[in-house]
Amino acid sequence: MKFAPFDYVCTRSLAEVYDLIEARGPDARILAGGQSLLTTLALRLSEPSVLLDIGGLQELRFIEERNGAIHVGALTRHCELETSPLIAARLPLIAQAMPHVAHAAIRNRGTIGGSLSLADPAAELPACMLALDAAIVLASRDGERRVRAEAFFKGLYHTDVRPGELLVRVEITPLEKEWRFHFAEFSRRRGDYAMVGLAAAARGPGPLPEELRLAFLGCGDRPVRAREAERVASGSASAPRAERYSALRRALEKDLEPQSDPNASSETRMHLAAVLADRAIEALSG
């Protein structure tokens, strides 16, 4: 299908974006990389009256270290995260996750701001933000506010972005000393959105993780930190595989509420989540 008609504005500044959002109301839509927005418009399921292209706002396109935190501008493209030496060195979890996001041609345009604002529960970056406890920075005419990742994702394609706001950057304080990272997912084919995925981090001076973070994707209406499983896992890292799987599985039943869809039943997702958790612990144990 072709897109329904819309107006288009190539914005030149954040101030202009705020003005236009105010002037054009809820029918205006931000266009970043367009790799998700244009696919939905091609279904004619929604028909915004105007697209506000922020793609030219270079001030939103950066990866930098500021005061010990890594700041990533909203317009940073997936391919830039994938190849950034700073990300590879300081946020290796993200570097591990990026090859799982779609395909090269899509990563060349898709942006982190778009991915987080879209909040697809099966997307990789939102789960990474959770695992890394990122701060998401939202800006409006009235200034900036910072929201912790876990509070930012509020439901299916639903975030804490308020009318008149824009996601401008994320700030992540690297977990460095003694942390190891692991990203894995089950997807039907290379580059497909995951059925179930896991962004994991583990701390421990010794081979066994003492502290764990398990952030799941594809297991609910948003990315989810599995706190019960994290607790159980830290204790059962050295348990035999079958026992550990069962313990994790029981814990995940409390943490996750995966939906059934034609791709997989909730039981299948729950099972795959437990397999991923189990494998992550294996991988993260030195």
Binding site: F6, L31, L38, A42
Partner: protein, 174 residues
């Protein structure tokens, strides 16, 4: 469906970009994606549409040096941009060796996926050349081919990687 919109065409937007080295200016509806722009405004029919959904890769073209899905970029987003299509990179000779390898290895049947596949393979050759079959399969995965078994495509790309490598070793190609 939104009735008022359907009846109301959006104002045209004038856009100037460089396509295959030539500057072009056209006034288009904002909803025109790059492939419709190339095909209908410029008669560059080498880029194809297989889904208009970002999935199949038949529309792969280059924007400012990087491959993109042409169906997921609006022409109006490309003010000042540099666009290259199969017609352009054929004429420049950049991938003559790859094209020859595709012919020699029969890495195409109906040819519909081929321009997009070549754009994608060219990016692979440019950014991470490797004759490892898994690496090649991985990289071209976003480009569907429904006719070949992919095997010959992998052959052709691997052969080109090797040939460029040994040419380079001899101080030849690039």
């Amino acid at each position: 469906m939104n009735d008022s919109m359907a009846a109301r065409p959006a104002p045209l937007v004038t856009v100037t970009m460089t396509v295959n080295g030539r500057s072009v200016t056209r006034s288009v509806e904002p909803r025109t994606h790059l492939i419709d722009f190339l095909r209908n405004e410029l008669d560059l029919t080498g880029s194809h549409l297989g889904c208009e959904h970002g999935v199949c890769g038949a529309c792969t073209v280059r924007v400012d040096g990087d491959i993109v899905r042409g169906c997921l970029v609006l022409a109006v987003q490309l003010e000042g941009a540099r666009v290259e299509t199969i017609e352009g990179i054929s004429a420049s000779g950049e991938i003559t060796d790859l094209q020859e390898a595709f012919v020699r290895r029969n890495a195409l049947q109906c040819g519909y996926c081929t321009p997009g596949m070549l754009m994608c393979a060219a990016e692979f050759l440019r950014t991470r050349p490797s004759a490892d079959r898994e690496a090649i399969r991985d990289f071209i995965s976003g480009n569907y081919c429904r006719c070949t078994g992919y095997h010959a495509i992998v052959d052709a790309i691997a052969e080109t990687v090797e040939a460029r490598r040994s040419a380079k070793g001899r101080g030849g190609h690039r």
